[in-house]
Amino acid sequence: MTPDTLHPFALVLTAAMFWFTPTLSRPGVFFGVTVSPAFRETDLARACVRHYRVVVFLGAGVAFGVMIAASSPRAKALALAAHTLASTAMWVATRHRVLPHAQSPVGVRAAALVERDTRVPGGMLLLVGPFVIVGIAALVVWANWEVIPERFPSMSRSGNGRMTPKSVNGVFGPFVFIGALLGAFTMQTVFLMNRTRTIAASGPAFEAEARFKRRTAQQSLAATYLMAAGPSWFAVQRVLGDGTPGLARGVWIGVIVCATLAVTIWMIRVGQGGQRAVPAADGQAGDATPDGAWKAGLIYFNPGDSAVFVERRFGVGWTLNFGSPWAWVLLGLALGFPMIVLRLMR
């Protein structure tokens, strides 16, 4: 996939996500605000959705036009970013329109007095797999140290002619980089299973929620394998092969595109917490998080909440509770550590 097709593809995907976002949230959450489930059917709610979608649609049209007209990949990326920003801003503005109609969350929280299955799908063995793949790739490179050329294509600009001199940092840095990202993804998978709250305590809503959580953890695990296999192979090719992107890279990108598409369609179909096709749980309003802990409806900060991940109010899936110290550990591992490795590789 080239930048000519990648950016329009990403634009269609993000525009679809923004378009469907208002209908994906739980029945008691509307534009990030806890409301009565009946609020969605009011004229005001319909008008909110209509105005929001007009901006998303027009923004996508303008961005698409820019992508057709512009030739540079940077301009295409900027058009995509501008559409995302404009749609997010419209979402936040609509949230402010809904806020006066907020309903205080249900005053009772219920929990089942039975132990849930919080095991990661496939167990520890499957979690370790991606690290083994990276380890084997690094071992292959180490075993062939003598045949590595004195200069080989750089990791960030592979195929663009930029070269890196042979050194331990230059050769093994990418493997540490991949390992750090894998660490963050693995932690995410584990936390999804045992550091997230179950909102419905029983019934079909509970079953749907458990299925949704398990499926998301499986997807996160699959993403970890994709992240381990592709980049490890490319890192080996970079130092031992001719360094040019080959068929394997094309296949890898194709798999990622197909998987992203499949996950997006699945998310739109099941809705947040798998609740779209399920009747609302008795007396359940909202998502068991206080409105006041949500900053602009996007960022959750609640030090009194023991959950590391909570259901996000914008779109489908989970977001970090920035009030939990573990959230910062995860962010550090996902962003900070790879930055340090990249710096050491220079």
Binding site: V108, R109, A111, A112, L113, R116, D305
Partner: protein, 129 residues
Amino acid sequence: MRPLLLELRLDSPLAAYRQIADGIRCHLVEGKLAPGTLLPPVRQLALDLGVHFNTVAQAYRTLADEGWLELRRKRGAMVVERTTPRKADTRKVAALTDRLRDIAAELRSLGVSRTEVSRALKRAAKPAR
């Protein structure tokens, strides 16, 4: 089969750990939680109720001190058979009796008849094991 539920009232003046301990104790005295039953781990219950881990741990400890539970490392707690009834703490009994009197008075002030109050108290005491 519907699982046994525990409820936490956010607007209650009672501390969260007291509400949790009281809720579980109710299930215990009514025989809904039989000896050998495993309660969920502290972490799971705290997450679902949206409280800190220590709050649930304190509730479990309270019930363990009363002889209802046996605490297990990282595995929550197990309901145990209370073989020997403990000697009643007279001060605690007096405090709880006062609470009962307050509740009865509140019910009466809400318009509930004396007979209905005494019936409700009998009903509450009946399933106790």
